[in-house]
């Protein structure tokens, strides 16, 4: 049996006006968690919004699970109202998460709140292999956040912003193009779909493997309802619909077809 139930909130931290972290007690029933996996969280006990909200693990250890959440609509607003010691209904861990073993040199790309699961990944990788060489590129629309955290987790850190003039202006694709000649064994990326769509051809062209942690509106979150899809190449010209929640949310850049 997989876990779905109430867990206690251990801590809550405001990161900026819109972003906060919730750290919850890890139930004993959850034997393993992988960076890049997510939980489907009930935001309200009163039914509305009706559906759970998928939120990536942004860190975990044997006793706790951390979520880093950006407030954008009612569901995330409700999550923001939870306080320490209240209980929250989570379900997971879900999805296939990142695949990692013992890479020595990696590239990590995060965009917006997509930096949350990437942070979780780097924490695990550093824990398992303190010598790993990490190059990180983060892109933000406005003011960057978690800069110090990523500084500590990266050997090289580049931050770009579309509007914050204290940082290099632009999108993650610019710094990416300038370092793509380096021998990264793996690239891990998470961010808004347009970002993933922009970086994937660049990395594919350079024959650099990339794991994309993708997003799609979900309902069940476990692969039963088929409302979340990722278009995956099949044969030379074909495609198949895979389930973002169950077969993803991690897909390799080489297999994804970006529409629209």
């Amino acid at each position: 049996m997989k876990f779905q139930g109430l867990v206690r909130i251990i801590s809550k931290k405001e990161i900026n006006d819109e972003v906060f972290t919730l750290c919850v007690e890890r139930p004993k029933a959850i034997e393993s968690i992988k960076a890049g996996q997510f939980f489907n969280i009930k935001t309200s006990a009163y039914g509305s919004p009706m559906l759970r909200r998928p939120i990536s693990v942004s860190g975990y250890d044997k006793d706790s699970i951390e979520f880093t959440i950006k407030v954008i609509g009612d569901g995330t607003k409700q999550l923001h109202q939870y306080e320490v010691d209240e209980k929250i209904d989570i379900m997971g861990p879900l999805g296939n998460g990142f695949e990692y073993s013992n890479e020595q040199e990696i590239l990590v790309i995060g965009g917006g709140i997509g930096i949350a699961p990437v942070k979780g990944l780097l924490e695990v990788l550093k824990r398992e292999n303190p010598n790993i060489k990490v190059t990180t590129i983060l892109g933000f629309k406005d003011e960057p956040y978690l800069e110090e955290t990523f500084n500590a987790l990266s050997d090289t850190l580049k931050i770009v912003s579309e509007t914050d003039s204290r940082y290099e202006k632009g999108f993650v694709t610019e710094p990416l193009k300038s370092i793509i000649w380096k021998p990264f064994q793996m690239t891990y990326a998470c961010g808004p779909t347009p970002m993933l769509k922009a970086i994937t051809p660049v990395l594919n062209a350079a024959k650099m493997p990339v794991q994309l942690l993708m997003e799609e509106k979900m309902a069940c979150g476990i692969g039963a309802c088929l409302v979340c899809t990722c278009k995956i190449k099949e044969g030379d010209f074909g495609y198949k619909h895979q389930r973002m929640c169950k077969d993803g949310p991690m897909f390799y850049g080489s297999e994804v077809i970006f529409d629209a």
Partner: protein
């Protein structure tokens, strides 16, 4: 009193269930995923994801829009096809004591008949004829909205179906009772309703319909009052049993449908918010039965004062 065992079994006119709680087609896959959250043995029957003759990859683009206490879906019958279902999924589901309802969908009447024929020789307990899919020959309106087409498809499929036959109705009609009567006359064993209501959403930032096919199917608590009214109307109209569904999310909803005359219930969208909702509702029904002193669920069905 509390220890007295309650009779929960129901008979949908040939399909017997050990309890009246089933899950609605398309919301529960083939049971595999939910088997990690609840014991499938607790579920009276599983109506599997809508099957077609050939595998289908379903609709492109966004497939879901959340709406106030509901959702629009536009999955487009993505499924591995009836043959893969027979090979891969029936053996899995047969490990459990839950009954198997095969939800069948055709592009035309011949396909419906062919599927009924094929599945009549396989180890499923019931066929659920879904006549809510768009009928290309009739200008895209669902098979289930035109009384003449309903008559034709049910009578022909009945001849090929050597199994218990459920016909699942579309709610997008003026007179559900008239359709239900036809379905009964043409020999269906049971009527299931409601399928989703036709609905739409627009992305005001992109200024486009959210769903590629413009409209999608509305389900969830939002539709419950409409579903309950239709279930009541149909239960008053036909003699064959009714499998009621549409927005059932908690015990009170379930009791309402039973009192309205549904012999069994299907839970759909509510599974998404609460994967254990079926078991919880079953429990809740037992508590209600004890409180109101029913020892057999069949006494409760249709028991309006």
């Amino acid at each position: 009193m509390h220890n007295q065992s309650l009779k929960l079994g129901v008979d949908l006119n040939g399909l017997t269930l050990h309890n009246p709680i089933t899950v609605a087609s398309g919301t529960f896959g083939f049971g595999r995923e939910y088997s990690e959250y609840i014991d499938l043995n607790q579920i009276g029957a599983i109506s599997v994801k809508g099957l077609t003759l050939e595998p289908r990859s379903g609709n492109e683009g966004i497939r879901i829009v959340e709406t106030p206490m509901g959702m629009l879906n536009s999955v487009g019958l993505q499924n591995p096809g009836v043959h893969a279902f027979i090979k891969e999924e029936i053996p899995f589901l047969r490990q459990y004591q839950t009954k198997i309802i095969a939800n069948i969908n055709g592009n035309n009447i011949e396909e419906y008949c062919e599927m009924a024929q094929i599945l009549s020789n396989e180890d499923v307990d019931s066929l659920e004829l879904n006549i809510s899919c768009p009928n290309v020959k009739n200008g895209g309106l669902a098979f289930g909205t035109n009384p003449e087409v309903v008559k034709e498809v049910v009578s022909k499929v009945r001849k090929h179906a050597k199994k218990h036959l459920i016909v699942k109705l579309s709610p997008n009609v003026t007179d559900i009772k008239a359709i239900a009567k036809i379905v009964e006359q043409e020999g269906a064993d049971c009527i299931a309703l409601i399928n989703t209501l036709s609905g739409m959403a627009i992305d005001i930032y992109k200024r486009k319909p959210v769903l590629n096919r413009i409209s999608g199917g509305l389900s969830g608590p939002a539709v419950k009052p409409v579903a309950l009214r239709m279930v009541y109307d149909v239960a008053q109209t036909v003699k064959i049993p009714v499998l009621g569904m549409g927005g059932i999310s908690n015990t009170a909803d379930a009791i309402e449908f039973l009192l309205a005359g549904a012999t069994a219930l299907a839970i759909g969208t509510a599974n998404f918010a609460n994967p254990k909702v079926t078991a919880e509702i079953l429990n809740g029904i037992e508590t209600y039965m004890r409180t109101y002193q029913y020892d057999d669920i069949n006494q409760l069905i249709g028991d309006l004062r």
